[in-house]
Assembly symmetry: C2
Homo-oligomer: 342 residues x 2
Amino acid sequence: MKKTSLSDIANHLGVSKTLVSFVLNGKGKEFRISEEICKRVIEVAKEMNYQPNRIAQGLRTGRTNTIGLIIADIANPFFGILGREIEQEAARFGYRVIFCSSDENPEKSRQQIAMLQQSQVDGYIISPPKNSEDQIRSLVRGHVPFVLIDRYFPEIECNHIVVDNFDAAYRATNHLLKLGRKKIANITVNLGLVNMIQRTEGYKQALKDANIPIDENLIKILPFSHENKDVAKAIKELVGKSAQNRADAILFSTSKLGINGIESISALGLKIPDDIAIVSFDNPDAYKICISPVTVVNQPLKEIGKTAVQLLLNEIKHPDSPPKLQEIILKTDLIIRKSCGS
Amino acid sequence: MKKTSLSDIANHLGVSKTLVSFVLNGKGKEFRISEEICKRVIEVAKEMNYQPNRIAQGLRTGRTNTIGLIIADIANPFFGILGREIEQEAARFGYRVIFCSSDENPEKSRQQIAMLQQSQVDGYIISPPKNSEDQIRSLVRGHVPFVLIDRYFPEIECNHIVVDNFDAAYRATNHLLKLGRKKIANITVNLGLVNMIQRTEGYKQALKDANIPIDENLIKILPFSHENKDVAKAIKELVGKSAQNRADAILFSTSKLGINGIESISALGLKIPDDIAIVSFDNPDAYKICISPVTVVNQPLKEIGKTAVQLLLNEIKHPDSPPKLQEIILKTDLIIRKSCGS
DNA sequence: CTGAAAGCGCTTACAG
DNA sequence: CTGAAAGCGCTTACAG
């Protein structure tokens, strides 16, 4: 069962494939092709179940209508929701998306960008890992349409859509302060990326503004590939029996940390929020039904995904005169649940 | 900055692009091209940063090294983990994957299959929605490589990898019975698909084998697009104050149902497992840290994803003499936590 | 051992 | 208004 091609239709009707191509691309009017013939072409195309070969189109036009998406891990619900939104918005405009999980590994992301480049994708949406500055710079140099999400490199001028992490952490910390917590800890991860760093900065600033000295022992920066036991150790140091300057609250910079953290806190027999208050970035289902539903910094994932696609497609549409650089910073909202007490 | 092509390299070296193509495809030995020239070609390719145009290759060879993946929703962690595994295994063999979320909507999946077909993907991995039998049949008719995951249509002979849902539900129900529960309910969703139906069948069989009459009032089949309030209603009917034949346990057929269910149970002020025991299919993080960690039917997602890719690639490799039909049924395991008491 | 040439399925100037 | 032809960047029979 060979697929039908343009020529098949042309032969069948005794016309040229030029004509068929024009009609099928909706340019019948433009080239003033008789309505009669237009109708026949469309009819026959349907009869023969014609499916245009996008690969051939792509080779000819240089456009594949495909976007490359590089995120840390599609199995992580944060990126899952983001990916879903991107897929959906892209589909609205006739674009497909190739998904790549880089695991925060710059070598992987390098290979993935090369692969996507060979696949002739029209543009990229990237959540760049640490040490991938060169890759991003080379995209800039090549005038390739792309937009960064979730993080960016302050020293590289390019489109990006991120969240105001400083502000988010500041407000979350403030929330704890207002509820009377004094010894607020921060558990974060050493991604070496601006988004995580800003969270800790916002946390520090809130303490400063409340005239609370910053205790570096209350800031736990775990390695990227942390496991349950690393979090458990940090928790023990912060709120365990032998903790010196026992924390009365924790700001978790990621939900992975938070989920592990809650497990550890429970294992120690401590109660949330009585023994320890908790706020976390991100809003997974787990936080809605856990022992004490968790107050969270909720990111506008849908908006990030949607805007990223729109920016990118806009850029793709104007390859010569790229639109104005867009550096979008969205606000988060603090969803208050029970984990901080009242 | 135009990309370098085969001819660029050929011109640069004063050889034919045939030769360059042979060398770069590792066929230098085969065609006994002098080592000297091979080395030069490879060198120059590197110097000029040659990236083969996969689209052109695809047009010429009819192979794109791309897989189309259609699942219900990539934002759902179940499919997220599955998708991740598929992406990873595909990448191992040099394949990329285009992700599509069908939302259990056959019209969407129809469009997505058409789109993927136009993109000339080499094969499909599909989690087919209800009423998509015709789409699958037309793939069979077209001798297109594909494998179904998570569900299948018993009346259509084709590769599929699923889990023994009957057995899983049977064992989960049995676990509740052994712990002394008598009024076991089942909350499920009306997908109209064999996987969900088998779960309820397994549940029923376990009751039968224990000589417990089946009470249809204890089986709640919610519409596919159920919301929190639909689950809340079902829960109220099962364990609310005015419930006639009050349930003492619930088997949730999906984790979305279970998560909503736990919220509702908490809202009613009931305690798990004292007032009501719970078992659920799937194993999201939420179940690990919730009020009473949930006993679950854990599916071997990694194995499903990995095997699906392997079957598919095997099929793609042998387009004429397709390998033997594979209908793989994997076992689940029951992870026992606290939600059923002891 | 190496090269000239055809062709994958399209689009699009160009000619009439 | 319509068609013949070139060409996107490859691969691969074929010839020598």
